[in-house]
């Protein structure tokens, strides 16, 4: 892609401390007396893509709205490219492209008129406006719908128009709230490719509740739950941080209650959960092995010795999904 690099690029060879492009410092937002987010801190370095991950209602949107200068934080500080979002809001906004959830658009406008409007709002005029619109149209693959009314566009194209608005004027920082939500799989793939291409020299903060997306797009992850940051790091580094249990799945024939009791007594098994009852006399259990040790041998021997039928015995791999669920809601009920 032929995008000019930012004018702020450091001279080659010089060792300069690279300031983070997005800084959230102990952000707290209280609605009424209910905190929506509490003490949320993270930074995103230049050129990084950071994913905010969490279930619905975790506070991702609130955090992004503060960073995008839409709503002020009750406490804490936030900076975009070094500009405080409160005191220096207009300067921060000038360095920012923001797409809210569901990409709200003016339905009665054409794609081109919509983008021209936002180019003008962002302070570009005359011939520059046309160039910027052309570039955003090209970058987001909107050529074929350029003169169409936004109301007539598919959800996938609408999302791309939202992205084009955010990328207008080549801002160094982009904040995208749930950019792939509600799209079909093909559209999701395309929007992800777009985001990856857009990233380049830009700093991107995006939110999602899809783990897979974080693995595919982001160098950094911040996991939020109930308004707090519960984990942060690279997608790979998150795995060791979670309790390193070794999970085993066992399908056993026999009275499920007695089987569960027996499994709990096996040496090396820390915890037993009934995963599902396949029938009256057939149940599948999930076992957490203490200290992450593979104790499938002991389990098999104990089951057979106890007079049960061992139908299936598997190690259940640690998917990012498992780790996520464990991080956001502690296994002991929470």
């Amino acid at each position: 892609m032929a995008l000019s690099p930012l004018s702020t690029a450091e001279p080659s060879g010089a060792v300069l401390p690279v300031p983070p492009m997005i800084e959230a410092e102990r952000l707290t937002k209280v609605y009424g007396d209910r905190p929506a987010i509490e003490e949320v801190s993270f930074t995103v370095g230049r050129g990084e893509i950071l994913g905010l991950l969490g279930p619905n209602g975790a506070g991702k949107t609130t955090t992004m709205r503060i960073l995008a200068c839409y709503t002020p934080a009750t406490r804490g500080r936030a900076r975009i490219a070094g500009h405080d979002v409160g005191r220096d809001s207009l300067r921060a906004r000038r360095r920012l492209g923001y797409m809210p959830e569901n990409a709200p658009l003016y339905d009665s406008m054409t794609v081109e008129a919509y983008l021209r409007f936002f180019a003008e709002i962002k302070g570009y005029g005359g011939r520059l406006t046309r160039r910027l619109v052309d570039r955003a149209v090209e970058e987001c693959g909107l050529g074929e719908v350029r003169r169409r009314l936004i109301a007539e566009l598919s959800k996938g194209f609408r999302q791309r128009v939202g992205l084009a608005q955010a990328v207008l004027g080549d801002p160094p920082v982009m904040i995208l709230d749930e950019p792939t939500v509600g799209l079909d799989p093909r559209q999701i793939t395309e929007v992800r490719r777009l985001i990856r291409e857009m990233a380049g020299h830009r700093t991107v903060l995006l939110s999602t509740h899809l783990l897979q997306e974080v693995g595919l797009l982001c160098q950094q992850v911040v996991v939020m739950d109930r308004g707090r940051v519960v984990a942060a790091g690279t997608p790979d580094s998150l795995a060791p941080r979670a309790p390193s249990d070794f999970w085993i799945e066992a399908t056993i024939e026999g009275d499920p209650a007695r089987a569960q009791e027996l499994l709990g007594r096996v040496a090396g098994v820390a915890r037993v959960e009934l995963a599902r009852r396949d029938s009256d006399r057939l149940a599948t259990f999930r076992l957490a092995a203490a200290a992450g040790r593979d104790c499938r041998g002991e389990v098999a021997r104990a089951v057979v010795a106890g007079g049960f039928g061992l139908v299936r015995l598997d190690s259940a791999g640690q998917s990012l999904e498992d780790i996520f669920l464990r991080v956001i809601s502690p296994p002991d009920g929470g």
Partner: protein, 263 residues
Amino acid sequence: MRRVGPIFRRELVAYFQSSSTYVALSLLFLISGVIFFRMFELFVHDSALAQAGGPFGAPGEAPDINVALIQDSFRLLSAMFFFTIPILAMRLVAGERSSGTLEVLLTQPVTDWEILLGKYLALLAVGAVIVLLSAVYPLTAYLYGADHGVAPEPSIIFGCLLGLFLIFAAYAAFGLMASSLSDSQVTAAIVTLIGLFLWHVISELRFRPEALRRFVDEFSAARHTENLLAGLLSVRDLVFYVLAAFFFLFLAARVVESRRWRG
């Protein structure tokens, strides 16, 4: 302030693309047109009657065309604004809030003021169109009156046109403020209708003591409307409407800002 331009242009285009604009204008001119026609008939009838002498032979008093056609038609139009303004103003902020586009707008490098001013000026432009269209009534009266030697005063006509625009401007600012209060356009419209009505009738309330009544009277839209539509353009009434417009614009900006806090 450079960014007011694009917001103004977008809103103005949106006005002329929106069916609710045509509904509001059609209703305004349909109803006022029918009533004006009746007023006109009545005026012609009364004039003829006066010329022929009263029913008992005594010379009747001819109706004054300035009052019976010019001022009354403008009084009618200004009262119809109670319904026109809510329809036109409701979507300005509330509509954008409910569709989510306000969030996109408020995160652009523009101030809340620029956004509101752009929207307000677009509404004023529609108001200017309405005032120009409503010139058809005094024009009709003028053409008839010139034929019959009772032409209305041009100064009164121009005074009324300007007065009508000032009234529109003040009501429009109130409508914009009401629109920024709510997520719902219907709520915004109802608040505007009730607010404008109350603003108009506070002078009818018989406050005691007399000093309080006179004080309240100063803030009543009705009183200043009467003055303006009498074609007596006084600086006081002019200042009243301009200040009222600024006051409600200022309130609208405060409302938008405070609603940022509530996300």
